[in-house]
């Protein structure tokens, strides 16, 4: 148990000012000449590390009993099979699980709940699972939060896996937090990178504080470790011709599978915009000043047979359909080519497109963050370059015709 302690004998006005300047959350307040830390504190420890020596310290009061990590074995992937087919994020996670498991000498497991027909389980073995645990005795194929959580909890209690990797689909992002709360264990959402320590602590890297910062997050004293990863963040492994693992059927009492949610009807969503499958994407950002100026970017996309997309500010302004959003809260894409037009490059946006094979960025600010990931940095005015390019493409085609 940790607590921040202010050593008042070392506090004067200068020290107070320094501490207030260091704290990014404004948690140091002075009341009646007495310096204290309020609830805005995020326990980031910067005041301890960067503040005047000894003024604030982090005191360990009594430590929680530590768990025996060697009892928790196996990197598990939740097999996302909503609507009968395995979501490809499952294969990507199996590939990553294989890498992580190799470091610590653990097996790779897959957890298949619901539509657990033999072919589906077999498919998971072909993508590198050593053992597939199947719960299908009474659960129907449809994703229902309570029975799925119950089955996952049963699996965790019986198998005691070291970590559970869950695809960042709508189903996965609903299921993972319920499991985490049930076991009061850590869950890290939308990881963009995963590593593992020899002591089996999963090192989860994700953007944090809503800004241009990455955080390394660990779950040091709880098991299992849970994280979600969006589709197309990792690469899928190639399918093995031979599957060597085994399939294990799991039994669970049917009274644990009650559901207070009833699915009355399932209707396919209207398709049309599928950014994740696009080879070429032209994406507009806040550098676009008016809604009508978007036609420029759309025209360029049309000429290149590319998909048009936007960043979060444009979606929030209502200028662009939410289905066309690229970024952590929108779609993650990895096309052959992406052209960003007037985009500064927030960490959330970059996380959603940094897997693109070629990134061309057009921005008039040479310090824009997007240029840190761009392969081609075009520093100039989009309002001159984009129309110029459109004209050149048009006239090129006309002379060829």
């Amino acid at each position: 148990m940790k607590e921040l302690v202010i050593h008042h004998e070392l506090i004067d006005e200068a020290v107070t000012a320094k501490l207030q300047a260091i704290c990014p959350f404004g948690a140091f307040t002075v009341e009646n000449g007495h310096l204290s830390v309020n609830a805005a504190c995020k326990m980031c420890g910067l005041c301890v590390k960067k503040g005047p020596a000894g003024a604030v310290t982090l005191v360990e009061k009594s430590s929680a009993p530590s768990i025996d990590k060697s009892l928790w074995r196996g990197i598990t992937v939740f097999a996302d099979t909503t609507e009968g087919r395995i979501h490809p994020v499952t294969f990507e996670l199996l590939g990553k699980a294989r890498e992580l498991a190799a470091v610590i000498g653990h097996p790779v497991y897959a957890l298949l709940i619901g539509s657990g027909n033999k072919a589906t389980a077999q498919e998971l073995l072909h993508y590198g699972a050593d053992e597939v645990f199947v719960y299908d005795n009474t659960i129907q194929g449809t994703f229902l939060i309570e029975p799925f959580t119950a089955a996952a909890a049963d699996f965790i209690n019986k198998v005691k896996p070291c970590a559970l990797l869950v695809g960042g689909t709508n189903a996965g992002r609903s299921l993972a937090p319920r499991i985490a709360a049930r076991f009061k264990t850590g869950l890290t959402a939308d990881c963009t990178s995963l590593e593992i320590k020899p002591n089996t602590d999963l090192v989860q890297i994700r953007p944090a504080f809503g800004g241009n910062i990455m955080a390394k997050i660990i779950t040091a004293n709880n098991r299992p470790q849970l994280c979600t990863v969006r589709y197309k963040i990792f690469s899928a492994p190639t399918k093995q011709a031979e599957a060597s693992g085994k399939i294990t059927r799991m039994e669970i009492d049917s009274d644990k599978l009650q559901s207070r949610v009833k699915v009355l009807q399932t209707t396919p969503k209207e398709q049309g915009i599928d950014l994740t499958a696009a080879d070429v994407i032209v994406v507009a950002g806040r550098g676009i000043k008016n809604k009508k100026d978007l036609t420029l970017v759309k025209e360029l996309a049309g000429l290149m047979h590319a998909q048009f997309a936007g960043t979060r500010p444009l979606i929030e302004a209502g200028w662009v359909d939410p289905r066309q959003q690229i970024g952590l809260s929108g779609r993650t894409v990895s096309p052959k080519l992406i052209i960003t037009v007037g985009i500064s490059g927030s960490v959330q946006f970059v996380a959603g497109m940094k897997g693109s094979a070629t990134i061309i960025a057009i921005n008039n600010d040479k310090n824009a963050g997007i240029f840190n990931v761009a392969h081609f940095a075009v520093i100039g005015d989009l309002y001159e370059i984009v129309p110029g390019l459109i004209q050149k493409i048009r006239s090129g085609r006309e002379s060829a015709a």
């Binding site: 939060i145 709508n170 319920r178 869950l187 209707t267 940095a377 520093i379």
Partner: protein, 262 residues
């Protein structure tokens, strides 16, 4: 119908940088606002109240300043507001935050329906809603795109499951997190602001909760630890193009032609 909406105060700016020399977080401004996704949760609650009658309570966990966000919700139409604040709650991750909220909710009384926004703009995890539901042992639905009907026993909703839309009937009490654009949020009313100017915000601290074990809250109750923060890693091989707009257009045209993209 007793409805509860969980909201959060978030920084107005999302541009946080690390000072490369000192490694200290730089925040451009200390200004805060209500998490924009929470406006849709509030609007959903107001519409259900208009149809079914009842009350809308807003709850947040945060520093004392978070009262401002609660006040804004009251100005929009919330009947009651409650702030969970304690230094012991500091440094809470998703589990500790959800547990604290669930403790507060149990103390506030029996609700029929709990509504949350899809996610926050600062944490971006979209996990707190589902974890609160688990701690309350209530069913939940995330990504609700439409509320069809509400009875005393059930709520019927459309749930966005990416490839399909599920029509779900959920037994009350339950928790839903709503998609952006489920309804157009109303603006805070100046008239209401004047009417509610003296309305107190209920404040709860650790001492007001049933479970008062400090180990379950804040940093101590958080299984996850931030081991390190660092600036994003950058691509090193890059070609920078500069010049007049005409030159840049030519270079870009040549590049795209060479890539067989046009």
């Amino acid at each position: 119908m007793k409805i509860l909406v969980c909201i959060k105060q978030v920084p107005s700016t999302t541009t946080v940088e690390i000072d490369e020399v000192t490694g200290v977080l730089k925040r451009d401004s200390a200004e805060s606002k209500m998490n924009p996704y929470d406006l849709f949760a509030l609007e959903t609650a107001f519409r259900i109240r208009e149809e079914k009658g009842g009350t809308v309570t807003v709850l947040t966990m945060g520093p004392p300043q978070a009262k401002i966000a609660l006040q804004e919700a009251v100005n929009m139409g919330a009947d009651e507001a409650c702030l969970l604040t304690d230094r012991k709650f500091a440094g809470a991750d998703v589990v500790a935050t959800s547990y604290t909220l669930a403790q507060g909710i149990k103390k506030l009384g029996a609700f029929d329906l709990l509504i949350c926004g899809k996610q926050t703009t600062d944490g971006d995890t979209a996990q707190v809603g589902a974890e609160v539901a688990e701690f309350l042992n209530w069913p939940h639905a995330a990504n609700v795109s439409h509320v069809e009907s509400v009875t005393d026993e059930y709520i019927n909703v459309s749930v966005n499951m990416e490839l399909v839309i599920q029509q779900q009937q959920i037994t009350l009490p339950c928790l839903i997190t709503v998609e952006k654009d489920i309804y157009t949020p109303r603006l805070p009313s100046y008239k209401r602001k004047l009417q509610t100017i003296n309305q107190p915000v209920q404040v709860m601290t650790l001492k007001d909760l049933t479970d008062q074990d400090e180990n379950h809250y804040g940093l101590n109750g958080s299984p996850t630890q931030v081991e390190k923060i660092f600036p994003p890693i950058h691509t090193t091989e890059k070609q920078v193009m500069t010049g007049t707009s005409a030159e840049l257009t030519d270079q870009l045209f040549e590049l795209l032609t060479a890539m067989k993209m046009i």
